[in-house]
Symmetry: C2
Subunit: 226 residues, 2 copies
DNA sequence: CCGCTATTCCTTGCATACAAGAACACTACG
DNA sequence: CGTAGTGTTCTTGTATGCAAGGAATAGCGG
């Protein structure tokens, strides 16, 4: 039995207690509502047994996150993201995760680094075992551990925002079950880890960006604008 | 006489029409309220002749931007940012602006590039004339033009958020009036421009990051964590 | 004089009533 | 048959009333 956890989830996004916002977001992310579908305040209020006021606050935030569109005096709709936006988000992801890798590489031995080491080992095992589901989960944790390991709370916040926008399309986490890609991905993770261990912040950033780029390329179908 | 502007402000942040939010933000940024000072909903509502509801929405957003702190059932206060947060924000700034420079360098000739060319020339003139006020304005425009020139709307959004948090401390825009630094800064701008003109996205990113780092170092007093 | 307690006043949080605008359907007219 | 006009009904936007909780203060007991 454990008391209060001394070290919080290194491989997970920071918790956000705003439960109503999270629940409505889950509704959009989970695919309960399709893009273009109206999202009535009154209905949501009844659904969650609260008044319109807190629902409105949550919707306003979701609009800022880019998940929905509020047309004044008309209605609220689930947004249909353009392909261009997705590419833009991946470019940003590349930049932020690369930055995080570089920052982490400057830090020396930290709990995050140890977490990463275990994660990479487990990843390689999962890859060898062809357990793509577990591999996907480990990949997810790898990226979060890296960003958390940057020790930059503002970077983490922006990354969280970014991932909320990306999670939308259910592109992330759904690791491509291509054995070749999994193998390559696993190697890229190890390379990033190696660079961090060597405190090569420049190399770590480059390796991480290359990895994100390769993953995005796989997901998006091989083209990258500009 | 011009019709609808074909090209919007290349050297300025994108407009945000949410006037109440902007006005309250200006109150905080402008120094009307000092850190720690309470910011009553009722008072603000009277001040702007609206009800508490829209004020609350604006405050909630300002809290998400990190400018204020809402303590439930207690009060709303202007936040006192820690030095660490400022350093974190500058690290992020370096990453985002570097990314933008790299993206812009891939794009070839664009209106943004032409704007940047004129900006650098004007900057050098202002530097030579020791007109530090005009120089500060041109620096501001340089950075915004560069980010806008990345052609990545999501990057611009995140950058805007970041700058809202930074503008807070009135550290930005208040260019250090050190002639030596101005001269160096001007040279760094030209270098970035050169790299973009040469379509050297790698060099452009590096040059921009170096520039941001140098500026931050000057502003923050020479130390950088990790 | 000091410590404790209860009360009062302050804040934000939530629910609801009302206002305003936009979309749509229906009707009347060309 | 098409079209312009109008009225209804939906939506969100705003104002306000009430509830709940925290903080400070005044009063009381030691």
């Amino acid at each position: 039995m454990q008391g209060i956890a001394e070290v919080s989830n290194l491989g997970a996004p920071p918790p956000s207690d705003d439960s109503l916002l999270a629940r409505i977001r889950e509704l959009v992310l989970g695919g309960t509502y399709s893009p273009g579908e109206p999202l009535s305040e009154i209905f949501l209020a009844q659904q969650f047994d609260v008044s319109r006021t807190p629902v409105r606050e949550a919707l306003k935030q979701l609009e800022r996150e880019g998940l929905i569109e509020i047309r004044p005096k008309v209605g609220t709709y689930v947004r249909e993201p353009t392909k261009r936006e997705i590419v833009e988000l991946f470019q940003l992801k590349e930049g932020l995760e690369g930055l995080a890798a570089g920052l982490m590489a400057r830090r020396g031995r930290t709990p995050s680094l140890e977490f990463l080491e275990k994660n990479v080992k487990a990843s390689e095992a999962a890859a060898a075992a062809r357990d793509s589901e577990r591999y996907a989960q480990l990949v997810h944790e790898f990226h979060w551990a890296l960003v958390n390991g940057s020790d930059n709370t503002k970077l983490v916040e922006h990354y969280k925002l970014l991932m909320n926008q990306l999670a939308f399309h259910r592109l992330v986490l759904k690791t491509v079950e291509n054995p070749l890609r999994i193998s390559a991905s696993s190697g890229e993770h190890r390379l990033v880890l190696q660079m961090i261990q060597d405190k090569d912040h420049f190399g770590a950033e480059a390796a991480m960006r290359n990895h994100v780029y390769a993953s995005a390329r796989e997901l998006l179908g091989g083209h990258r604008d500009a």
